[in-house]
Amino acid sequence: MATKEKLKYERPVINKINAGVTDKFGMSTKMEIIEEIDSVKITDLLNEYGSPVFAVSENTIRKTINELKQSFTTRYPKVQIAWSYKTNYLNAICKIYHSEGSWAEVVSMFEYEKAISNGVSAKKIIFNGPDKSKADLEKAINNGSYIHIDHFDELYDIIAISKTSKERPKVAIRVNMDTGIYPQWDRFGFNYENGEAWNALNRIMLSEKLDLVGLHTHIGTYILTPSAYGVAASKLSELAVKLDKKYNHKIKYIDMGGGFASKNTLKGAYLPGKDTCPTFDQYAEAITNAIINSEIDPQNMPTLFLETGRALIDDAGYIAGTVLANKRLASGRRSMIVDTGVNMLFTSFWYEHEIYPAQEVSSHTEDTTIYGPLCMNIDIIRSAINFPLLNKGDNYVLKRVGAYNMTQWMQFITLRPNIILIDTKGKTHVIRENETNETMTALEKIPEHLK
């Protein structure tokens, strides 16, 4: 055994100094280090649960949803959040949101049944999306869930069902519209400007078999302009006022959908997301001003529903992992191969994900391309980042990966890792076990002649 304590090794580098040239963001490249998440050491996490590993902070989830509530409830009397299941539908995660009072927002029967099994009352489920079969609709109607109608074919299905069902369907329509942002999402719901939305509302009212309870929109995702929400809320309020005038009918809620930006940086963005992302207060100000200043009868203010997804959970998710190798490309560029691939980091197609060393590093950095471990050319985590000189076996942490990755990930080439919840006391729990070969072959069948 060596008696002398050895020096910490860092691979030797030489960098040309370009006087006066700063990086793209015009900021210093001093690297933050993440050695722990909510007081849990990254090295402990990796030793116990393997590498890579997803870690979700219960603390951050609870803190963030309470910030959202605070921003809206201080400006508007009735606010209800519905957890957007597709963003992250691990049962443990959903149950945290439900324990904070969130309803469930689902877009398929799979998600609907997940919400039921998570103990959500069917009367607190919002059923969105273009894909609802007749059987799905019958079930949701009989259970008294809120159905947000996407298109006329769905509306006619519901009217047909209502003729025989005991329960009156509780419905809203999804409205798409021009809010001044590009791209304008027009594939979901009924258009406002061309009168389609008003037409759908009239058909619902005239059918006399449906309870028109709300108006819904989801203007897009990662919307950086709060004023677009102001425009959308004004247009929905306008429809509410017209319904009151024509039918003396008062809707119970306005649902503004999701779409608030998270602090991630979009690919191609010039400034980091944490500097450009609007605050919940800014979104709340735009939305609540529009509703309060509309012609809606102040005695009958609708409840404001929110289906915020990524902005609620992105910051709570991390991936910790290990450097597999360093390599010099033929072009002379440094590349680093890590054990997180795009198969488990779907959002790397949209975001320049923040990545940090998980142990002490010197202040030296090198322009680096970070690749995932898949044998695929598209497997790039960061195409160009000034990054410290991690060695093979060193650890790193990817930040803000809580939204969409744990639902849109795919089993490809390799197995998916453990997902850990760090509870509010700093205790760790597996909330989804790592896959094994058995998990993957359980559904496969071999025809007799190939056995």
């Binding site: 050895k6 020096l7 910490k8 090794y9 860092e10 691979r11 030797p12 580098v13 030489i14 960098n15 040309k16 100094i17 006087a19 360093n326 010099r328 002379g332 010197s362 030296h364 000189l389 060695n391 093979k392």
Partner: protein
């Protein structure tokens, strides 16, 4: 392997090429290697020094060392051999 004569290296790891006016920064380990090359130490000696004094495996160091020497060559900082 030798660093060119027109190149000055400071204690802090700052390297200046008086022919081109380019300057470079070295990290600790890079500085150590350049220092030893300047002292006319052999590749063998550099390798032994690192394996004895640093927490690094032979294969890793070998890789990194070759890569580093390549970089020095590309940046035109090494004396032409032969």
């Amino acid at each position: 392997m030798k660093i060119k004569k027109n190149i000055a290296v400071s204690e802090s790891g700052f390297l200046f090429d008086s022919n081109t006016g380019d300057s470079f920064s070295l990290n600790e380990t890079g500085k150590q290697i350049v220092k030893m090359l300047n002292e006319n130490r052999s590749e063998e000696e550099v390798r032994n020094y690192f394996l004895n004094n640093y927490d690094v495996e032979e294969g890793t160091f070998e890789n990194n060392f070759n890569d580093f020497i390549n970089m020095l060559q590309n940046l035109n900082l090494l004396e032409n051999e032969g």
